[in-house]
Symmetry: D3
Subunit: 319 residues, 6 copies
């Protein structure tokens, strides 16, 4: 049985593979028995299926999780449906390639997280190391799949790690050019600057943001990040300038009040954090726009850039 | 011995009365003995004095405190100086009228504080009452003399209480017109909205702001108020919507990002808090401007209003 | 015959009650006889009806007036229609509850107007009393039903009185806190500040604004209010500061040029008028937004606020 | 006796000529007799003089008027003073060249006024002709010397006529290019657009603006022009579209709210009026800036233009 | 055979006349033979036609060109189609009235161009004459039909000449009022100010803009005009102030950075060029808006003006 | 003879060393003989000197050049003066340390230039290499000492090279993180982006900007850079996309119209160029501000940042 993409499915085909739960709801059939109505998807499309005679005591599969599914494609009222014969939740052992199911960061979360931990181990400033570690602990394992946004830049599974680890690499580059910058402070700022996002956004494990949280709406990830940092610092009994510098870096990293920072960056590491954030967000947006635009052509106006984007041919003989 | 104002002093006059310490520094005279060089003031002026043979183990009098002083006015190098014969720190029993020494709120701090406590006692919402009480405790007795600003509105001794208690009275008025507003939430918001200021400003006990604190500059009183509120809530083990509503009211009470609030008010009590703050600040500024402008004339441009102010004659027969 | 709402009507029901004329047009039937095609409504919905054999000399019923109607519900081309058997215009004696027919102010216009007149009687400044009275006379009885806007705040029957009388109550509250404000000037400003609106908007008697007038578009209610005030003052032979203060309050009550006031408020009563207007308009908008949003949820973005609104649960145990 | 400029005067010179009264104050000498202390000026400078034994019943000469003066130059405390032997007020017969005394429009007021009257006579629209005439009558003979501003453009004697008559000539030019514009409406708008300025500014007869009037500050010349127009229209019993079009042209001629017009121009003649006003104001400012800047050089930043101005050499061989 | 407009065509009518090629594509019929599918239009509408058995070696007719066509109107699938019997490209001799086919400038391009050349002949400044002539040569014969914009003002065949020649007439008018302006410099600026547009826009010969060019998007007509001017000046070996003045006029003619000019006009002729451009663009927009609005009514909001436009009745008796 | 700094000089000291010519003017003494009046300086101060009996045929020393000087310090009218006994122009062989005389880039110009040339050699895109080389040739040897600004960032000798070479290092770092960027295009953009500055600013060889050039004022370095690039491309006969991409990078590198770029960056390399420019300019400004501020303190408001800057202590135990 070949490994088809959802967009390739046709009536009467046999299917076996991994699919993402897009939505799943327990209902009752005409006889009063429980069944589950699900939409399953990969990156190429979505297909509906029903699983009859559902155990009344069991919950429906979790939105954002991956299932192993086997069945036959049928047609019902002109639309394809998967008649599921066998299914199960996937485990860590399954060779699921998440990047076939949903938009994913280009690198594995484990790899990116290792890079961050390695950076942390290299800190000489003990207080900064412990505070940063405390923040990572608080964020917990959600970091592995958390996206960086609902729609703007890095709206993908593990997008938050993708954004953070690219900024970390940029930061190491600029430290070569400006060796007078405080290395540990800048890198700590990079690692924690967006950790408040997982209190701001509601995301399933596929990295799909469904909504903002109440405190995301009322306070935002900048302020929420600061209150979390205060709790971590209180717990670790760390106080003084070090904490306030990090608080300020969290608060000012959007650069100006118009973009949500009530204070502009007031020391070089805070200023640099802002530009690194800006640069990585913009490069991600520009890249996406180019990927969707043919060479030699202009895109439509990109909302977040407020301009059209040109995809150059880049060849020497381009007219 | 009459009770002169500083501006009335002339050479050879005898003086006895209460004066404010504007600055005080311990120095050594030519023989190596300690003396104190002080500037003393009331609302009408400032005069220098030296106190010789200062006890080397004693600190100079505290800036912003009031002293009882007796002495003679002398002239030295063309400027008046007070030759102090006797002096002491004032105590709670002394009949010091602070409003003769520095700009003061028009009501006694004790009276305003009582009004706030009485309001608090009338709360039905227990969580709001405990959180508000916790915030007042954290602010402590500094509240009695803390000003609301360095230069803008209510820049006076007890200005913070003045501003808060006037807003409280306004709030009670608007609750009559809009009875559907949540009373306790609005009043709690009014009481705590500017408490972060005593972590933002450095003020002496005369209500004179000398500078901003580091965290006042790097974070501001909105964010500092929020982290303090979180500490109070953690200590009281109060969580959930109530805390987040107060956090949002602190964050949004300047109304828009341009004025320092990264979030605009998102529910009616937060919106009302913003207008009450605005209204009271502006009335205080307008009143000060009018007090300095003759009837029937226009002031110079007032910086914080970006306009000139007219002082009407207000009489029916004014041409 | 029961008193149904329009949304409850079904085929073959008998109906008798009061309905609002939404639109009414005289036409000719196939035989050349006159008939009237009308849409009738209450707050719950709208139904079409035809009245055959209309007196050619008589005008169609007035849009915005209420009729007493009896008839049977029929279906025509799949849509309900009222076959009217009997109808008449309503009179002052009819027990018409306007608030069932259209959005209305929560209080009776007569009651609100009485409050205004009572306030006027309490004025000590004779010139202000006569000018304000003159403005009310010029506005005339339209005030009873005039709305305050087409869509923004207080877009309802008697909305102008609703807005004015709520501001009047707010004003009396703030006068307690700032007794140095000129009472009569502030209250006069409140009463006349929006009277120019009935030269700016075209509204039917149900408070439904259909359009702006030409001078509403070309000049606006601020300037039109000023020219009306000048005519009133000329007629009453009142000149001098009093008139100019009122003119300025009319011109500046939107606060800044961006919102239509070419001059910012230049004395305390003008400044206060602006904040009272702002506060009442915003509370009305916030209340409407909350009424449409479930507790614990956020509204869509509200156009006139440029933000989403949260409807708090307000309970102590809300998570 | 030669005709010296004030800047040429030296001790012991004899002087006879016309001078402008810059300031004049009646005082008492040591014996209790009245004298007048005056500053007299022409465009080149100012000189003080005293006139002793002043008739106690007579007022001091009027600021802004021209005197015929004869006397001798003396020195007192190191500064020149004119010892006046004979003086009198000037009359219409005196050959006073105002342009030697103060900044003046380049053309005679009589000539500019004649141009305006001639234009008025050519109107075919009777209502526009009568309204415009009524506005000119209300402005009265002050128009002959009134300046257009305190500091910005056309701040000179007869500057208002200068600005108006230049715009009138521009208007006649554009009517050739856009013959579909309503001629009389555009020209009427040009003539009356700034007439409100003589209720906005306080100027002496030399065209020197000393201050704004109260209603200039509180309302401005746009709104004051509209109320005056309404009085004129009421008196002439003219109503309807014609009046409203002119009202709108007055209100909108500054183009946008940021520059004081709460409504932007809504028909072509109003739009054109705005651009003519802008163009003439800017050309006057640009010309003044160039006159003060050497060829081939840049001026300092010109405040009202927010930029530096270059004075080109304009020759073909300029490098 | 009468001369029908496209909107008048009905089934079975015979048609002969000139039509514009709106689009034209070569395709293959079921037998593999080439045919052309075209949409033909005049100002009133569009009709489809097919021309069978097309010569495989010949290109389809050029979009934006006019054809002489004879045929019969048929109906196919409910839509009219022209069955073409005979057709040919038009030549200079054909009496084609372009203004019946597409929106055109009100004057002939030849006439407008003659006016420009005549102006050029009157220049006394030889360098300005040669540079302006060089720019016109570079633009070439496209000027005859080039529009001034895609949608804003003068979006019509020969719109660029229309705009330029109207500005030239305005310029001659203002030179009468401000004779101190440098005549040749101002007129040269007017003639060349928008010539960069034919490197910015892609237009067919009917004046229909289909897109922006790459350099139009990346650089714009201001900068492209400057590089072209530099090439012309290098070729003519003209350097120095004259060239820089023209460069600045090109760069600054949009007036401020917000509208695309990185430098504001810094000398009077540059300033005047900006206002003439503004004035003519606005009058064109206002006229179009009025032409579409009934007398006595308001238009919808006009996008490029950000306001509604009123079409006055302009009569003395208009209410 | 010791090597004193100018600020250490005292009366009667003997001096020998290298000094910078700050200003130098040829004058005539009382006997009609030529002498030169000069101000000489190093980074610590300035001293005046006269050189008598100057050769009438010789020019005064060039402002911005370094001289070798020997003499004695004298006092004249209370100010120190250097009585020069011997002096000469310096040559390439002299061990002049420019960084003692004026603010200088921290690296040698030769070293930075070598880095740029090396980068250029690594280009694979031949057209980009030749265009970039052509631009460097046009700029010529002035590049060795040219500053990047008059006052903002990198206002120092060789500041333009300093800024360019730091950006080049940053660029190489970001290319590691975003390998999909076109390397040669980005690096070419970095090298040429500010070359227009040496046509915009007038600087002496000490890197001291005295003024803007005419074309700097009228056009700016963005547009001047583009016309220079066009001349280079014409000369090298290179056309097409490559040139337009570079033109756009020059035009858009200030990011938005408010900062002088009429076009925002439209492809990733242009976007990145803007952020690199921003980042390096800001880091330079931040560093300067910190260098002038004690640890643990705030600076005054920095004009170009519109904020105060904090100089952190950066230690773990900082309170």
């Amino acid at each position: 049985m070949e490994n088809y993409s959802v967009c390739q499915l046709q009536k009467d085909m046999r299917y076996e593979g991994f699919l993402m739960v897009r939505s799943a709801e327990k209902r009752k059939d005409v006889k009063g028995n429980d069944y589950v109505d699900m939409n399953l998807s990969d990156r190429t499309g979505e297909i509906n299926c029903k699983i009859w005679n559902w155990d009344p005591g069991a919950a429906a599969p979790e939105t954002g999780s991956a299932l192993k599914v086997r069945g036959t494609v049928q047609e019902y009222n002109g639309r394809l449906q998967l008649r599921v014969e066998k299914w199960r939740n996937t485990t860590a052992e399954d060779p699921v390639d998440m990047s076939l199911l949903v938009p994913c960061a280009p690198r594995k979360p484990e790899e990116m997280m290792a890079e961050i931990r390695e950076t942390l181990d290299s800190f000489r400033n003990e207080k900064l190391r412990r505070l940063t570690e405390g923040m990572l602990e608080t964020a917990g394992s959600d970091l592995n799949w958390f996206p960086a946004a609902q729609r703007m830049h890095h709206a993908e599974r593990s997008g938050l790690l993708h954004h953070t680890s690219d900024m970390l690499r940029l930061a190491k580059g600029v430290l070569e050019v400006y060796p007078w910058l405080n290395r540990d402070l800048l890198l700590a700022g990079v690692i924690i600057h967006d950790l408040g996002k997982n209190e701001e956004l509601k995301s399933d494990k596929a990295g799909n943001v469904t909504d903002y949280t109440r405190s995301g709406q009322l306070l935002g990830h900048l302020v929420r990040g600061i209150t979390t940092l205060n709790r971590v610092a209180d717990r670790l009994e760390i106080h003084g300038e070090t904490v306030e510098l990090l608080e300020h870096m969290l608060l000012s990293h959007h650069g100006e009040s118009e973009y949500g920072s009530p204070k502009a960056p007031m020391f070089p590491e805070a200023e640099m954090l802002h530009w690194l954030d800006m640069m990585d967000a913009r490069m991600n947006t520009m890249k996406s726009a180019e990927d969707k635009t043919p060479e030699g052509a202009f895109s439509e106006k990109i909302f977040s850039l407020d301009r059209r984007v040109y995809h150059p041919r880049y060849t020497e003989d381009a007219e």
